[in-house]
Symmetry: C2
Subunit: 328 residues, 2 copies
Amino acid sequence: MHILVIGAAGMVGRKLVEKLAAEPGSLGFDVSRLTLADAVAPDVPAALPGVAEAMTVDLSTPGTAQTLIATRPDVIFHLAAIVSGEAEQEFEKGYAVNLDGSRELFEAIRIEGAREPYFPKVIFASSIAVFGQPFPDKIGDAFFTTPLTSYGTQKAIAELLLADYSRKGFFDGIGLRLPTICVRPGKPNKAASGFFSNIMREPLAGQEAVLPVDEKVRHWFASPRAAVGFFIHAARLDTGRMGPRRTVTLPGLSATVGEQIEALRRVAGEKAVRLIRREPDETIVQIVDGWPRNFDARRALDLGFQAETSFDDIIRIHIEDELGGRYP
Amino acid sequence: MHILVIGAAGMVGRKLVEKLAAEPGSLGFDVSRLTLADAVAPDVPAALPGVAEAMTVDLSTPGTAQTLIATRPDVIFHLAAIVSGEAEQEFEKGYAVNLDGSRELFEAIRIEGAREPYFPKVIFASSIAVFGQPFPDKIGDAFFTTPLTSYGTQKAIAELLLADYSRKGFFDGIGLRLPTICVRPGKPNKAASGFFSNIMREPLAGQEAVLPVDEKVRHWFASPRAAVGFFIHAARLDTGRMGPRRTVTLPGLSATVGEQIEALRRVAGEKAVRLIRREPDETIVQIVDGWPRNFDARRALDLGFQAETSFDDIIRIHIEDELGGRYP
């Protein structure tokens, strides 16, 4: 089977590719060809010589989607996106990549299928940013999408297109609304959500981290390992079980910042917790106040998607996958 | 104020224009200019000489939206659409008009505003086709949009765009999810929903009508007069009361076919009811089975939108507005 990963240089895309390289049977079939596409050159895993190839593409450039689809991949993981902050700053660019890029991908598949029968599986990375406050304490599977960012709007629109193209039989689509991924590896960044990872990752590396919000702030998390698991599970899932509702809110762990810190204390001790410096930032407080806190992700659980059930596990996964299992 | 009606030749568009011509103060301000646009030439009301002009336009043709917006209308009623059945048959045409046409209109406003400050009110005709079964007996204001047609998908996407463009301050948008309009004037047509009106209108005109479904079938209705009232009310509404959630499910009347027939009996007597001929059509039974039956439209009611509360009234409005008040 030929697998295409669009957005293969991103954090989750990279980890998905690593998993496919390490366990090529994890999808339930052989990976005979693996195409890795992104706006910056994706790394080609050494474990897959002659199988994997990298392509540097701009999904918003006309013809790009057709070029990718002309190779008729059997499974397409579509993770490419302009992130939330940038899509909000650069209105046209966000729509060009997140909406038009996704639509052109879907259109390229439809047109290829009209030329010669073709019915790939398409796994689309959506986001809980499709939801906007006010919401109930636990957001259920039938709650409406009222995004408060252009990014969330673009994701919600792509979900609707994915469902309609699937309903019309142009491809077999699944949309995955990812929780906030934590602990995100790498350097601290300026994303408003960055602190949720920073206050775990930096102390585990012996570095100080800034906490800009109150410990009572509650949010919705899954580990990078769980995220990869969601995509693998979606690729194996019989979508006949989903009917025409092709997007699911994925399971996650609802935790307060205080609960994160207690987990860090249990796993890494007081000296890690002491590296968290309180420095309230009213801008971040305001932004985070509009974010979902908790979900009842019953449908995804019924479909077999799995996430962590304790923050201790999320921290241990970071230590295992990013720190070589060594802490302190 | 300059008013633009796109889709002015359609049934609701025409009645909206008639209302503006008959009561030019109904919007709460003077109508100094009225532009009527549609794919077929709209009628210009005789009551508005020198004020109204008609334009024949195809909203899916590049440049059309810019031409309309270059005249900088203050209030834009956007009712233009490829209808449900046609959008389902002609996939590309439906997307070109219902999605791209709406988006190009919104883009033209954004770009005009970047050139020179411009902040029109945009009232967009959406539909309860944004909902797809299964649903609860009463669909609430926070229920998710899972359309089962391309038409419903295109309307749901335009709602999301309308909200995002409003949130970004490009215009002041309101989306209106119209109930099924009944009694629809004119000839019987082949729309699957046509019988809801046919079984009222034809007997009132002394003609036979076919009922293809069971009398227990329940659906969601408002009169053409109520529909015009929704658009007028939206044009006058302070959208500050809506926050970022810019689309409302409008109020309507939930009635079974049996209740429709009882109302016809009360208003027009047994001889009208005898003109309804039962002729079950399994295709229509199946289609109608997937449609919403009832809503809890609390938010729209709180915002002051009003619909009929009895089917007797819906029939009387048809007699007053279409039959010159004369029946039998």
